[in-house]
Structures are given as structure tokens and as C-alpha cells.
């Protein structure tokens, strides 16, 4: 185990040694996000359910320059941007966030390796913090995870009397805590997670019906913003843009969301997903049907951030429950 005091001292040691450390923190009153920490005093280790963002941005930033260009007379000078490889520790990440990184690894290494992602990833150690609380939006147990799921984590902290039980999962995790823990005859007791609220298999079957009327009715309230995608730990779509002027600029990789109207707009002006219901359907299809077909697992860790951050509380979970409520009879009928 490690006491909270010893853990905070260790975090300060990492920061002092030049490691970038990020973890949950109150950036303003009642508003918690994963952010880079200037000291361990900012680190939040209890009293929160889920930060409003996810940890994906420490590997896949919302805006990243790929290269810069400069026009010198008739010459064009290109400058490669070297992907950052500063050591970083992500501390106190929720298991639904660490699991998402394991999922993202598959995407960013599929075919060509995304150097920007993998270099950051290789230089990072992820320490999860097991959950002792959950809210009505949490549904990790419905997608095969749980309050102490180890997927994607190098080590895990499990809250217990006087501190945390430290569970080292990988060599990286062991290296981080080597010689810094003390033995204890007690172990942490982690309460059960949220009850199972839906079944991905059933969802998959329901999604076979492309013309389900739900996409026209239940999604009417959607405001076409990207709050769900951008706070989702697994959403990973990006756009490549050029920014600059006649003298110079850069090519950048920016987060993008399938919920925004520009996502599929063609240069011709045609937009194959012209109404919001189609975009909602696409996001759900991608997470529970298209992605599993390619990578063998669902693109959702049940964190509930989509619903928590949605201006109109339209999360994946609610949509799926509604979709499955009509199963199995309605699948044939709606056609």
C-alpha cells in the first residue's frame, strides 16, 4: 500500500524530475477535469465520479501540428514537427478512461503507425484509480469493465483505510512504484459497480435495423454539437487542416466529430448525412457495430461522459436502452 501523503510526495518527485504529470483536478468551483498538474496539491484523489473530459488528450491532443511550412521567394521550406516524447504519468485515471487508451492503441497502430500518438503513449505510464462511487450515467459493467478493471492501466490505486492498495500491472507500473510502497495486511474493498443496464449483443442486433424510427424521433432534441465526442474517451476522429497565410503556416491534426454538420460534407456541397438523426445513428453504429466488426470490441467504456456533457442529456446509454426496448418485435415491423 501507499499512504496518501507518500503518494503526493511521489507525485511531486516526478514533477520535480521533469516528468509531465496529469490527473483530475478542480479547474474551477465544482468543475473537475484531467489537467497537467503543477504540484500534487492540485491532484484530486477522492470525492469525484468522473472528470468532465477524458485522458485521451494527453496522447491525442485536440490540436497538433504535423509540419510547418514557410515560403521563401519561390522556395517552400517544410519543417517536420517532432512528436513529443517527454515522459509523462497520468495519475488517478478512472478505469473507463484507461480502458479507452487500450482501445485507441489499436486504432492508432492499425496499418500505419501514428507516430504522434505512439511516441506520447510509449513515454507514458498510466495509473488508474478504482471507483468507490458511481452515478446514474455510469455503465462500465454493461461493456465488460468495472470499478477496478485493469485494462489499459500500468498500475492501479485502490482506496483503503489510510491510503491506497497499489496493484502493479505492467513493468512500467512496477518501475513507477518500486521501493515506494509499504506492506500491509489489509487489502482494499471495492464496492460493486453500477448494475448492468444494457447488452452490447442486443444493441448490435437492434442496430441491424437501419431505418428504426428512433433515429427520427428520439434524436430530435440533439443540438448537433460535439460535446459527446470530444469528452468521450474513445472517440478518435480527426480532421487534417492547413492554417496559415502566404508566408507560412502549418498542417494540423484537429479533433473532429461525426455529430458536426461539416464532418461528411463533400466538396460538391452534397452531404450524405444531412440530418442529425443520421449522424446520431452513425455514432451509435460506429461504436457498437462497425468498430467491433473491425477490432473485435465495442468502442465504448461506459464512462457516461456523453450524457453528462450533453446539453440535452442525450447519452449513448439512454439511446441504446430506448433502442433495445423496442426489441425484438419492432425490428421487423418498422420496415
Amino acid at each position: 500500500m501507499i499512504t496518501q501523503q507518500a503518494l503526493r510526495a511521489l507525485v511531486d518527485e516526478w514533477i520535480g524530475a521533469g516528468t509531465k504529470v496529469a490527473g483530475p483536478s478542480y479547474v474551477k468551483k465544482d468543475f473537475c477535469q484531467y489537467v497537467p498538474l503543477a504540484s500534487s496539491a492540485e491532484l484530486l484523489l477522492e470525492g469525484f465520479i468522473h472528470p468532465r473530459n477524458s485522458i485521451k488528450e494527453f496522447f491525442f491532443p485536440r490540436h497538433e501540428k504535423i509540419y510547418e511550412y514557410a515560403l521563401k521567394g519561390h522556395e517552400v521550406e517544410l519543417a517536420d514537427m517532432s512528436p513529443a516524447s517527454t515522459p509523462q504519468v497520468i495519475i488517478a485515471a478512472r478505469p473507463c478512461d484507461t480502458a479507452a487508451v487500450a482501445i485507441l492503441d489499436a486504432v492508432f497502430n492499425w496499418g500505419d503507425k501514428d507516430e504522434f500518438y505512439t511516441r506520447r503513449r510509449d513515454a507514458a505510464t498510466i495509473v488508474a484509480l478504482a471507483c468507490v462511487q458511481h452515478d446514474s450515467q455510469c455503465f462500465c459493467t454493461s461493456v465488460g469493465l468495472g470499478p477496478d478493471a485493469e485494462k489499459g492501466a500500468d498500475a492501479m490505486l485502490l482506496p483503503m483505510d489510510g491510503g491506497f492498495e497499489v496493484r502493479c500491472i505492467t513493468d512500467k507500473g512496477r518501475a513507477l512504484f518500486a521501493g515506494r510502497t509499504q506492506s500491509s495486511d489489509k487489502t482494499a474493498v471495492i464496492p460493486e459497480g453500477p448494475k448492468v443496464k444494457m447488452s452490447p449483443e442486443q444493441v448490435r442486433k437492434a442496430l441491424e435495423d437501419y431505418e428504426n424510427p428512433l433515429w427520427k424521433t428520439a434524436t430530435l432534441r440533439c443540438l448537433s454539437c460535439g460535446a459527446c465526442s470530444f469528452t468521450c474517451p474513445t472517440c478518435h476522429c480527426f480532421d487534417i487542416v492547413d492554417e496559415g497565410n502566404a508566408h507560412g503556416g502549418c498542417r494540423a491534426k484537429n479533433w473532429d466529430s461525426c455529430q458536426l454538420c461539416m464532418f461528411t460534407k463533400h466538396a460538391s456541397g452534397h452531404n450524405p448525412r444531412n440530418v442529425q438523426g443520421q449522424r446520431q445513428r452513425q455514432r451509435t453504429q460506429h461504436k457498437f457495430r462497425i468498430y467491433p466488426d473491425k477490432f473485435g470490441e465495442v468502442l465504448c467504456t461506459g464512462c457516461g461522459n456523453c450524457a453528462r456533457n450533453c446539453p440535452v442529456s442525450l447519452g449513448v446509454l439512454g439511446t441504446l436502452i430506448e433502442l433495445c426496448a423496442e426489441m425484438p418485435e419492432s425490428v421487423g415491423e418498422s420496415k
Binding site: 479547474v27 474551477k28 468543475f31 477535469q33 468532465r52 473530459n53 485536440r62 490540436h63 446514474s136 424521433t217 430530435l220 432534441r221 443540438l223 448537433s224 454539437c225 460535439g226 460535446a227 465526442s229 470530444f230 469528452t231 480532421d239 487542416v241 492554417e243 494540423a252 484537429n254 479533433w255 466529430s257 458536426l260 454538420c261 461539416m262 440530418v275 442529425q276 438523426g277 450524457a307 456533457n309 446539453p311 440535452v312 442529456s313 442525450l314 439512454g318
Partner: protein, 281 residues
């Protein structure tokens, strides 16, 4: 009051006055309240009205998917009714085609009232087709509408810039502010123009300043202070503060307040030869 509201909506649907009622619903009494589109009379039972009814439902009146449903009834609080006035003045809503049900409102937010409600002076909606409920006697209209801006303006320009840098750094460019805002109805938002690019889409500090400031300027003299931008921001940015500062300027310089009176011409759309600036003559 809730029974009267449900009965009213049921009747509007039954007698064919409207095809859809845009209202508030809640599936779990402990959970969030969200907008619902009631098309069947029996579903009027699903309508709720409580302290969690934050959303400004007039934002749906300009959406093509919603317009396609036919004649619309919409629930408005006092603040929401002001945005309806602006939408009508800007020819975005044919007022005669919308049945407006005003809800007397003592403020939303529990246990703490929403920021906008602490300085509210429109507890009773105006310009509606009917009003349901009454404002609690303990609630009175505020006279201190720019309190937050006044407090903020005590900071030096450098401190204010530092504040906005810190706030805008968190912006992820999800455009939830735009989506929730009833007055962000442009067919093509300037940030979606990419031939050529007008505003960087990058969530860099430069791009974020460009986006948030442009949006605030486009709402100058139009924003009614419903506070939806602040409520929906997943990065916790108090965008309303920016808009309120421009609203304060519109009132100080032109004695104009958006959405208060349908008969007062919009400040941005008015020509006045008596204007104190010379360029206008």
C-alpha cells in the same frame, strides 16, 4: 400547475391546434430534465415543470427537422420569451404560426439558482399566447442585471485578458454554445466556411479566441442573457459573462435591451440620424 400545463398541451394536440409541443421531460425523477417533442395527446402526461427546466426551447424553432413536424407549441420561461421576440424581429419565426405557452418562473437551479436567475427581471414571460402558473411572492425582479460584469470590470485589462486566456484554453470547439443558443441560427456558421477559412478551426488559443470573440460580437445587441451557452459548455467557460458585457454596452450607449419589447427596433438594424457618432451622417 403541472396538471393545468399537461391538460393545456393535451388539448392543443387533440383539437389539432398544433402538431407538436416542445416541452420538458424527465425519465428519472433524480435524473436530468431534457427537451421532449410531444406529438400524441396521451404523451402530454410526460411533461414536467420543475427547477431543472434549464433549456431554452426556442432554439428548436429554427431547425428544419422540427419545422417539418408542422404547427408548433413551445413552452417558454421569461428569459426564453425574450429570445422569441428577437427571433421574430429577425424574421426567423412566424409568430402567428407558433403557440407560445408562458411559464411563470421563480427561477431554475437547485439547490443553487442558476446565475441568470439571481439577476432575473422577467419572471413572468411576456408576449405569450397564455400563461400558466404564478410567480411565488417571495420572488422579486432584480435591478442589478450587470452585477457580474461590473464586478469583472474592476479587474485591469491585463487581468481580464489573463482570465479569458485561461478560460479559452479549455475550449474544445464542440460548438455546444452555438447549438444551444436560440440566436445562433445561421444556415452556414462562419466557422464552417472553409473555402477560404475565415476562422481557424483549431482548438488552439488563437483559434479559440477568434471563435469565441466572433460569436460574442455576432450576439452583440441580440443576446437576451438566457445563459444556455454557459450552462452547456463542457469546458466550464462562463460565456454569458462575455455576452452580458456587450448587452451592457448596448444598453449604456443606445438604451436598448434585446427581446424586451417587440415594438422597439433592433439596435443593430436601426438607423438614427441623431446618433452621437458622425460617420452615420
Amino acid at each position: 400547475m403541472i396538471e393545468e400545463l399537461r391538460q393545456t398541451c393535451r388539448k392543443l394536440l387533440e383539437d389539432g391546434t398544433v402538431n407538436v409541443v416542445i416541452a420538458y421531460g424527465q425519465s428519472d425523477p433524480e435524473g436530468p430534465v431534457y427537451p421532449i417533442f410531444v406529438t400524441k395527446p396521451d404523451d402530454a402526461e410526460k411533461i414536467v415543470w420543475n427547477k431543472q427546466c434549464f433549456a431554452n426551447l426556442t432554439t428548436y424553432l429554427t431547425r428544419k427537422e422540427v419545422k417539418a413536424l408542422g404547427r408548433i407549441a413551445v413552452l417558454v420561461k421569461g428569459c426564453d420569451a425574450r429570445s422569441l421576440v428577437v427571433l421574430e424581429q429577425e424574421s426567423q419565426v412566424d409568430r402567428a404560426m407558433v403557440h407560445v405557452i408562458g411559464l411563470a418562473c421563480g427561477g431554475v437551479g437547485e439547490p443553487n439558482p442558476a446565475g441568470k436567475c439571481t439577476v432575473c427581471e422577467v419572471h413572468m414571460p411576456r408576449g405569450t399566447d397564455q400563461i400558466i402558473g404564478s410567480v411565488p411572492e417571495t420572488v422579486s425582479d432584480s435591478q442589478d442585471r450587470y452585477a457580474a460584469v461590473e464586478e469583472f470590470m474592476k479587474k485591469s485589462p491585463e487581468e481580464r485578458l489573463a482570465f479569458w486566456k485561461k478560460e479559452f484554453e479549455r475550449c474544445v470547439r464542440c460548438y455546444a454554445c452555438r447549438g444551444a443558443c436560440p440566436l445562433c441560427y445561421c444556415n452556414q456558421c462562419i466557422v464552417d466556411k472553409n473555402r477560404p477559412v475565415a476562422i481557424d478551426t483549431s482548438a488552439s488559443l488563437k483559434g479559440n479566441f477568434a471563435w469565441n470573440i466572433t460569436r460574442a460580437f455576432h450576439l452583440a445587441g441580440r443576446c437576451v442573457g438566457c445563459g444556455e451557452c454557459t450552462r452547456v459548455c463542457p469546458a466550464g467557460i462562463d460565456l454569458r459573462l462575455l455576452n452580458e458585457s456587450l448587452a451592457r454596452s448596448a444598453e449604456r450607449n443606445f438604451n436598448y435591451r434585446a427581446g424586451m419589447d417587440p415594438e422597439t427596433p433592433p439596435v443593430i438594424g436601426t438607423y438614427n440620424a441623431e446618433d452621437k457618432e458622425n460617420f452615420i451622417r
